[in-house]
Symmetry: C2
Subunit: 557 residues, 2 copies
């Protein structure tokens, strides 16, 4: 008898699983249930559809039920919600909304791919008209209709994560004035705070009214029919439309009802083969808990790439193969107003939260290609690596060009267990319009490797305000005059060999320049002459970020 | 006494070596000699200066002798040609052209970084005015002056390598009509021939008069003062200017004169520490022979990245450290008329030439980002990997967007010894405008891994003309009608399950579709039903390239 495989949810993970399973087994009887009206739609494209960048909704329909039927002999039942799972009887209960009936359906293998549900905090007024989440095509349709009907000109976006930023961009693209409210003191919470500073600056420069460290407290409908958003700090924001971009929580209702184990993060617990605590039930996608390959901690990571990978692996497992999910490494990218923000691996904050020790961070700000070719844009890059071995742990990058390329290289390096010494030696694409003979990835590797070899002791920007060390600015006098650290003395690299006698030998020196390169040169000379010297990584450009984080990061003039 | 280090050549390798050595040793007495008027200039930018993309020559001067002096306490002697090396006495003989004198200079360590010399074949008329190579700033100055003075409108570029293509683009950018003559039947000889087909098509579409498989036989100056270029095929091409882009040969005059060993490729032989056959002489850059990390064969690879890396390592060695050059992997990128061509590792041709066996190639043509986001452009990607282990050996990519990013990832994967199974699981940056949940790199890994797991037997396009197999086109009838392989039958994937009986069970089937995906689906079903079936990798899009290569690659209608 044919193996009866039932799949709950037909978007990324569920659809991948179904298609892959068909490739492995022509005999399996595969049915996909989705409570929505569409399967396999491009939910990552929804913000861009709202923003009219993708004008036609049909563009988002990657595969129709007919395509599943014709190409894969897979039956898709839309508008069909799976209400419960009986793992003893191996049955699911389904509500067919089109026909208004309920029925029970047996399975030999069940795959749960229910996704995540948008977080909707129980705030006063949350159910007022004009407040939307964005997760499905009907959501985007409702938002577009609302924007058009109300000739909306003002939006409040709640939450500064990926969706929040993408929605801010897309609403601005439609001509709306956008206020973005984020509870944390930074946008894009997965980033380390200092790396989020240029993101905040960019959003503000592009006209976003960015309210960091403030939370929405209540929504009200005014007499004129508009929305008023009250925040914890007492601000009142007027809006024609509110978008909730507070992330998603794993959709675990079915799993809990079936008695399946959940993990500590709240997602469905699965093993390396995506099998749940019941041997006939698998789970994939945003609803499952995954293990982070760097930190080893359990995570919820609602991203399409891992969801697809998991779907594929679950199919392998159901077909009797022995797949092994290697975990996730949190590679992500987000575009906002021409800025690109990407990261992979662990963040410094994440490592500290996990109690990790023995790691170091460095910063650099190279151009995305050589400076002499027109159009070079800086990439702000942070690299996190193990001490003393040099294994790469994480990377974050912010810039306008070439950002995702460098993070992809670093993601591959992390996957393959590379060290910063490998990055030094990476042989990457170079022509003047495409990079540099020493690519930003090479530069990052060299800085980190120099540190680990003992050639480049580092100081911590967070201690600049309290240190007894003498701060030495090795830039040229005009640069120094334009702004420098409080109490710093100026001794340009170009005069260092003549004037090094001016520096004290009985006091630690912390050197810096604009981006960290000249101060490295200065440090090398000073060390050889017997000075006790450390480099402030990434130079004044990195300081500009730490300074924004407030007094805890030190003082400046 | 201070270590006397003398460096011959002050561009990529020599300049890197000098600066790195100073960071390691304040005591070393470092002198750099360059026979030209500049050091550390951006020779990769020269074509773009000729093309006015980089209008100001000074942009190309990365570091002046004054900067070397002020920042690094390194003495640079320009217009100073090192005429000979006496390895017994450890002395060099220098001609100072500024002062018109010769002198001898002792050294403790000598670094040869003389670079490569443009190849200038001894053809009749080669010395006629208006025929230029491009390797130095004075070269670019002469070409620019010539173009302006002669109001040049027609150019012949000889050689279809990197420089040839970049010069064709830049001359066209200045408004010249460009004819490009390449002796081989393809542009960009490092590419496998089928991957060069779209490059040739693109150049022609952008107006380049491309003469492949033809060689220049002679140059003549006509009575009107223009140039006439005669080719081996008998063509006569009129030109106001001729650019020779025939590559460079290692500049080994000094090394040979000093009795240093050369390698079989003709470059200076060095060990892993960049040391020559004389223990007091090191050599770096375009003049040295390097070992290819994939093929293990000796190579000349005139690229800036490896030259910089070698310069750094030679400095480490001279400073008493124990560096180890890991070899080169031929990562390169070239932009031409909006097309980007990049590669890394070994080519199929290179592997065959080296007698390698046990490898396989696959092709794919994914969009550089998801199709539903506006502006997706195809990447033509070839992956070469070991059988049966799956170790990645090489990759080539051609497209308009996202090409260098994927090759950088694959270059990193090759460096770190990755297999195609690792590529399947790579977690890369994805948002709709930046890629796909299954990135082209993932897709390439999946296709290759499917093959190695036995799920996807492959056929060879080169055998399409001779095979007894039945060619089955699984595209829709309209696609089939628009063009298909000779003798192919059409059985759309969407009808396969109903109509598979029409296919013979006693004959091998070779299936194909547009890009290889639907035929993979068809193959999986057919195999499970017991058919003997292989997939033609990359589909009709790959066939379009092989077909262009002529009858040896099979026949088509």
């Amino acid at each position: 008898m044919a193996q009866r495989v039932r799949i709950v949810g037909g978007v990324a993970g569920g659809a991948s699983c179904a298609a892959r399973l068909r490739r492995l087994s022509e005999d399996a009887e595969i049915v996909v249930f989705d409570r929505g009206p569409y399967v396999s739609f491009a939910n990552c494209g929804l913000p861009y559809h709202v923003g009219d960048v993708i004008p036609d909704e049909r563009q988002l329909l990657v595969a129709s039920p007919e395509l599943f039927r014709d190409r894969f002999a897979i039956e898709v039942r839309i508008e069909s919600e799976v209400l419960s799972v009986d793992v003893q009887k191996r049955e699911i209960e389904v509500e067919d909304r089109r026909e208004g009936r309920r029925y029970r359906e047996p399975y030999d293998a069940l795959v749960l791919a229910p996704g995540g549900a948008p977080i909707r905090p129980p705030l006063p007024g949350i159910d007022a008209p004009g407040i939307f989440s964005l997760r499905t095509i009907p959501d985007s349709r409702r938002i577009r209709a609302w924007l058009a009907e109300h000739q909306a000109t003002q939006a409040v976006v709640v939450g500064g994560g990926f969706i929040g930023l993408e929605m801010a961009e897309n609403l601005a693209h439609r001509g709306l004035a956008v206020t973005l409210v984020e509870q944390l003191p930074q946008p894009l919470p997965p980033l380390d705070p200092e790396m989020a500073v240029p993101v905040a600056g960019h959003l503000r420069a592009r006209g976003v009214d960015l309210r960091l460290g403030d939370a929405v407290a209540a929504f009200e409908l005014t007499s004129s029919g508009r929305l008023r958003v009250r925040t914890a700090s007492g601000a009142e924001l007027s809006a024609d439309v509110v978008i909730l971009g507070l992330g998603v929580k794993p959709e675990t209702t079915l799993a809990r009802g079936a008695g399946l184990a959940l993990g500590p993060s709240g997602g469905i617990r699965v093993d390396e083969r995506m099998q749940t605590s019941d041997p006939h039930v698998w789970a994939v996608g945003d609803a499952v808990e995954v293990v982070h390959v760097v930190s080893g901690t359990p995570h919820i990571l609602p991203l399409a790439g891992p969801a697809n990978r998991q779907g594929r692996l679950a199919a392998d497992a159901i077909a009797g193969r022995e797949p092994r999910f290697r975990g996730v490494q949190s590679t992500s990218v987000c575009g906002a107003f021409g800025l690109v923000i990407a990261q992979t691996g662990a963040s410094e904050r994440g490592l500290r939260a996990a109690g990790a020790e023995g790691f170091e961070s460095i910063y650099l700000h190279p151009g995305h290609h050589v400076g002499y070719f027109p159009g070079a844009r800086p990439i702000h890059l942070k690299l996190i690596f193990q001490k003393p071995g040099g294994r790469l742990l994480g990377a974050q990058a912010v810039g306008e060009e070439g950002v995702e390329r460098r993070i992809d290289v670093l993601a591959t390096a992390i996957q393959l267990g590379a060290t910063v010494f490998d990055l030094e030696e990476a042989e990457l694409c170079y022509a003047p319009q495409f990079g540099a003979a020493k690519d930003p990835v090479n530069m990052a590797g060299m800085i980190a490797a120099n540190h680990l070899r003992g050639d480049l002791p580092l100081a911590d920007w967070r201690s600049v305000g309290e240190t007894d060390a003498l701060l030495v600015d090795v830039r040229e006098p005009a640069e120094f005059a334009a702004g420098h650290l409080e109490h710093a003395v100026n001794l340009p690299l170009s005069e260092l060999r003549r004037r090094s006698d001016e520096l004290p030998r009985d006091r630690e020196l912390w050197v810096y320049c604009q981006a960290g390169q000249r101060s490295y040169y200065a440090l090398r000379a000073l060390r050889q002459w017997g000075y006790d010297v450390r480099n402030l990584p990434g130079g004044y450009e990195t300081w500009n970020a730490f300074r924004e984080l407030g007094p805890s990061a030190g003082s400046s003039r």
